[in-house]
Assembly symmetry: C2
Homo-oligomer: 389 residues x 2
């Protein structure tokens, strides 16, 4: 009748360590409860990976208690019991009457909980950078005596430094990304439908690498001629043609930890411009990686890339990357000039050197790397070449 705990991705001690770090930030901000609604951060703090965040749910952390309380839709409670380290009395299901109800929703259940747990006159942290305005207004209206503090990305910042256990998953994810990219090199051929190549790549990303299966599928961006100047297009109904260029970005996923890689493909001989850009970008990539060490900044890494490609006659408008981890982009650190975030061991980045120079001309190259005590440990291992088909 009851569901058992499943195999846990991390031991309980790992989650308690993460929660202790969050509570330390809560004390600094003088709040007694933190309402975590960003699904990636709920995942980080509990092990919950089910995709139920399209309806309201929240993890409420109290500074006074070891375990947080997870409030979610009743039908998702068995998954929460099975997947997370939480004791079952820490998981509260709200009734189905709050789904598809214009008057009240799941956030009302979270507010009820805060009132009953005596937080109504205390400092309460909300993630106002993600929480919808209407929900935030409801928290304010129904907790008029609480001191609401914006805690956007408080948990995300903690997520930026991985444990060795997380690095193991990032490394497994990187091997899966590599396998996906190498499969692309096998199947991208003139006359092949983009979607049929994607089918093979997806299959590889699920089968995984080194005996570790992919546990999720991240977005795949396949921007082929005449779309080689675009980014973030998934794939088209088109076929590859002789002379086509294909810019491919994909990720491997292990228990939500994602490693990304980008490579450029050319069916036929690459143009001189593309080849020169590639050479500049590889030189820039190496210069950027050389700068990576604890104590250097994101700014330093971006400068190294930018100065190198400038010397070779190119510029890149967009940033050179960002922190990566649970479900890809971490959204707090950028490898760009002016970002003075100091690198620390076991931070992980997607060094994203996609460079879209014209509306119809772009090139992509990237690696996922980890900061070590002595430099950069590049997790992705695909040859740094234009794949000429």
């Amino acid at each position: 009748m009851t569901i058992s705990k499943g195999p846990q991705v991390f031991p309980r001690t790992e989650y308690l360590r993460r929660l202790a770090a969050v509570k330390s930030e809560m004390v600094k901000r003088e709040i007694e409860a933190l309402v975590v609604t960003f699904d990636r951060s709920i995942n980080y703090l509990t092990g919950y990976t089910a995709r139920s965040a399209y309806v309201p749910q929240a993890l409420v952390i109290s500074v006074h208690e070891e375990e947080p309380t997870f409030i979610l839709r009743l039908m998702d409670v068995p998954a929460a019991i099975h997947l997370t380290f939480l004791e079952r009395n820490r998981i509260i299901g709200y009734p189905e009457a709050l789904i598809g109800n214009p008057e009240k929703d799941g956030y009302d259940a979270v507010i009820d909980f805060l009132q009953e747990a005596n937080f109504a006159t205390r400092g309460i942290g909300l993630e106002l950078g993600q929480l919808p305005a209407r929900a935030a207004n409801n928290f304010q209206a129904r907790l008029p005596s609480a001191r609401i503090v914006d805690c956007t990305h408080v948990v995300t910042w903690i997520r930026t430094i991985k444990s060795d256990l997380e690095i193991t998953l990032m490394r497994e994810a990187a091997a899966i990304a590599d396998a996906g990219m190498m499969r692309a090199a096998d199947v991208i051929r003139p006359g092949v439908h983009e979607a049929d190549a994607i089918a093979e790549i997806l299959s590889t990303l699920a089968r995984g690498a080194n005996g570790k299966h992919g546990t999720g599928i991240a977005n795949i961006f396949m921007c082929s001629s005449p779309r080689a100047g675009t980014s973030h297009i998934t794939w088209s109904d088109d076929v590859f043609r002789q002379g086509s260029q294909i810019n491919l970005e994909l990720g491997g996923v292990r228990h939500t930890y994602t490693a990304a890689v980008m490579r450029t493909f050319s069916i036929g001989k690459p143009s001189d411009r593309l080849r020169r850009l590639h050479e500049a970008e590889v030189a820039g990539l190496e210069a950027a990686l050389d700068k990576v060490r604890p104590g250097a900044t994101c700014n330093d890494v971006a400068q190294a890339f930018n100065r190198t490609i400038e010397k070779l006659g190119f510029q890149k408008e967009s940033r050179c990357g960002y922190g990566i981890g649970i479900d890809w982009n971490e959204a707090v650190t950028s490898l760009k000039e002016g970002d003075m975030t100091v690198l620390k061991p076991n931070m992980t980045f997607h060094l994203m050197l996609g460079n879209w120079l014209d509306e119809d001309f772009g090139y992509v190259l990237s690696e996922t790397f980890r900061v070590t005590d002595s430099g950069a440990d590049v997790l992705t291992r695909v040859p740094r070449q234009i794949f000429e088909i």
Copy 2:
């Protein structure tokens, strides 16, 4: 140097018709500008399908002008030119300096535009049910003389009634979903890793059906013993075993239009309880579909299902479904008792009869259907059986 328009999924007249419907709602609400930030609604109103919504972007509709203005990150402008029906002067890129910048972000570029276009003292609609609180506060602070009106789901409600062109895509998507489910029946076998079965299903969903490729991959939920009482779990690192039950939910996708289907698999003979529940659910499904006609309500359909399975000794706690279209769940209509939404021709629903009776016991069955002048047109066609392996 410039990128050309790509093949358009819908003709310009279709987008203008959709926009006219939105403007009619804007007039009712006495607003002159509507700021659409919900990515599915931007997709609906322009044809933009690139996955760039992880950074701020907005479509600004003026009641005074035929075409809206799309404001997004500079690097995504070529994709917007290529994918949408919009004239290129209606697409504005904001600079990379607004990415990863704690002081200002892309919403500031949207606010700048509203000020320059003389909306600062007018009625402006925002989707406060999705827009993050911090962004909404910024709109309020920087447009103090505007009358901000909450327009959450104004566009979503218009999306609920499809054109025949949209129905064609829904039908193609349903055929892809069917193919994915039938592939699952081929590959779910004892000893097979869940991820290896997923690899085959994903590949089928991308290859498509009837010569129409899948253009995206929706979430796949695979909840296998001992997780047959859970929902929304993607898949696990586990293998299927003799005696395992597998509850599978997946969708086919054509140009973001998604049709979903759920079926239950049993490796070995299903238990008596599972078989009885299946029979009740199939009877309930038929009773629900029989109720579908223009003028009936969502409530009527749910009541027909609920009363039928109650007579057969079962109950279902969660709703019986919801409107479906762009990127799955439409989030405004529910097939549940009390939802008095009146059915109209070319509304499409996921009649979602997943029923999780115990923490460790559940069953799934669903169809995607369209409301026609005379009843329900069921788009998904998988046999309504427990797939016994």
